[in-house]
Symmetry: C2
């Protein structure tokens, strides 16, 4: 079997873990890393600004910020390169799919979109639980763990030098926010606290703001999910399901993107979310092995 | 949208719940029930011995014992009717797939096999967790709940009037067996206890045998699963995952078969386990709705 040649686009938090995960995948070769600005190679890993310098690339893992995903994906799909992203704006995933599907079909490429853990593996669990109990409510509870979006919102406040917003699950999809802030000299804590609590990102959640001298002391990449569904199978109530995980956040995102790179090679041209792809396609084993080991 | 016409084959424990689940599915119509022996209609549900008496049938839900599945499936697939089963002999699922695939492709039909909860929805979770953390160990812990296979093995022992074998999870895929037996008059309990403990079904597990006056007092259809995976995402260890459920056993099996009947109408001719089918295909909603609601 020829190995899948994978490029990692972006070398931030997820990109670094994506490099590790590609190197750990027996059926893949790391073609190199693509960055916006020229940079030194990383050990014997080639770093380039243009993917064409990497020779043949089968799949590009888009580890750049969510807001750049559409543009990046279109660029690579037009070159006939499959793409995988972990685009996480839930409300516009379907629009991204429609847009990328059109481009992918023109060049015979495949895009796997929103392939992280939420959206991503959690979406697969939510769909599975709907198949098991079509009537009922699923609660997705996040954390404890760092919320990137909320942290960025706090960092933008006047007087804030550094920040960390933790998401704390309190059950039934309700979350508490605990915000650690490091302030510039002479800034009044109460003013910052008030500004944070009035921000739309925080105003509907129970929010606590704590001033600390060094935010970096509090940062860890662990995160968690607790999903609960109570529903009805056929006409039988009280069917109870629960999915939990405690994970290194960028490591899991990167692994799911790598598994999705493999899956992209097994789909017809188009754009797919994870719930549109058979689970067996994500695995580095043939169907017979997967069925004998896992079914 | 034309509704899917479904027949329920067999009217035992699972068959009864399958009838309920088909009636609860808005995109399906219950064509009727097929039994081996002639029987009265059930309310306004037609009961027949030959599926041809039910008019057009799109999908047959095979709710008969596992040992009869292959023969039943072949019969209906040859008639061009899709089949769904919850065949549960893990070691021969792949052989069943190969056999039914051949027949299904000849007539353009689809078989969804081993579509219960284990094998079935648990298999999907096992595959998903391998995609999230390819290295590591998954433990599947069953119960507390009744084991059909073990119960049948005990009932076959000399002197046993009725029996119930409960599976109790003790973690890391190890199980305790607690067997409730009702004995015929004059039978020595110690002899029966010894025979059970020596049976290959029980000899490698911690087994307790308890004599009771009426086994039926102890039977409930609840069952449970606790699946645990600790593994490696990329090169990051200690990624922790857990899936739990506490469910009415035949109700869940029947619902998954009904969801699989729907999925069968969306696959190319052939035979499929659940890990070979995209999750979205099991749901009574279009792709856009599923992606907006669940991804």
């Amino acid at each position: 079997m020829e190995k899948i040649r994978v490029a990692v686009v972006g070398y931030g938090n997820i990109g670094k873990y994506a490099v590790s995960a590609v190197l750990a995948a027996k059926d893949m070769v790391l073609a190199g890393v693509v960055r916006r600005e020229p940079d030194d190679d990383i050990g014997d890993i080639k770093v380039v600004t243009d993917i064409k310098e990497l020779g043949t690339v089968d799949v590009a893992l888009l580890c750049s910020p969510t807001r750049t995903i559409e543009e990046e994906a279109v660029k690579y799909l037009k070159m006939g390169i499959n793409t995988v992203d972990s685009y996480d704006i839930h409300s516009t995933i379907y629009e991204l799919k429609l847009m990328l599907e059109k481009v992918a079909k023109e060049t015979g490429a495949v895009a796997v979109i929103s392939a992280g853990w939420d959206p991503g593996s959690d979406s697969v669990v939510r769909a599975l639980l709907e198949a098991c109990a079509p009537k009922g409510i699923t609660y997705t509870n996040f954390g404890p763990g760092m919320s990137m979006g909320h942290t960025v919102a706090v960092k933008a406040k006047e007087g804030v030098k550094n920040a960390l917003s933790m998401t704390i699950p309190v059950g039934t999809s309700i979350h508490r926010r605990i915000v650690y802030v490091e302030l510039n000299d002479g800034v009044n804590f109460s003013d910052v606290e008030k500004a944070i609590k009035q921000d739309p990102y925080f105003s509907s959640d129970e929010t606590h703001v704590i001033q600390v001298s060094d935010v970096n002391e509090y940062i860890d990449k662990g995160h968690g999910v607790n999903m609960v569904r109570k529903g009805v199978s056929g006409q039988t109530d009280n069917q109870l399901f629960e999915f939990n995980m405690k994970i290194n956040n960028p490591a899991l995102t990167a692994q799911i993107m790598v598994s999705s790179a493999r899956a992209s090679k097994r789909q017809a041209p188009g754009a797919y979310t994870m719930i549109e792809i058979p689970m067996v396609d994500f695995l580095d084993m043939d169907k017979e092995t997967a069925i004998r080991r896992l079914v």
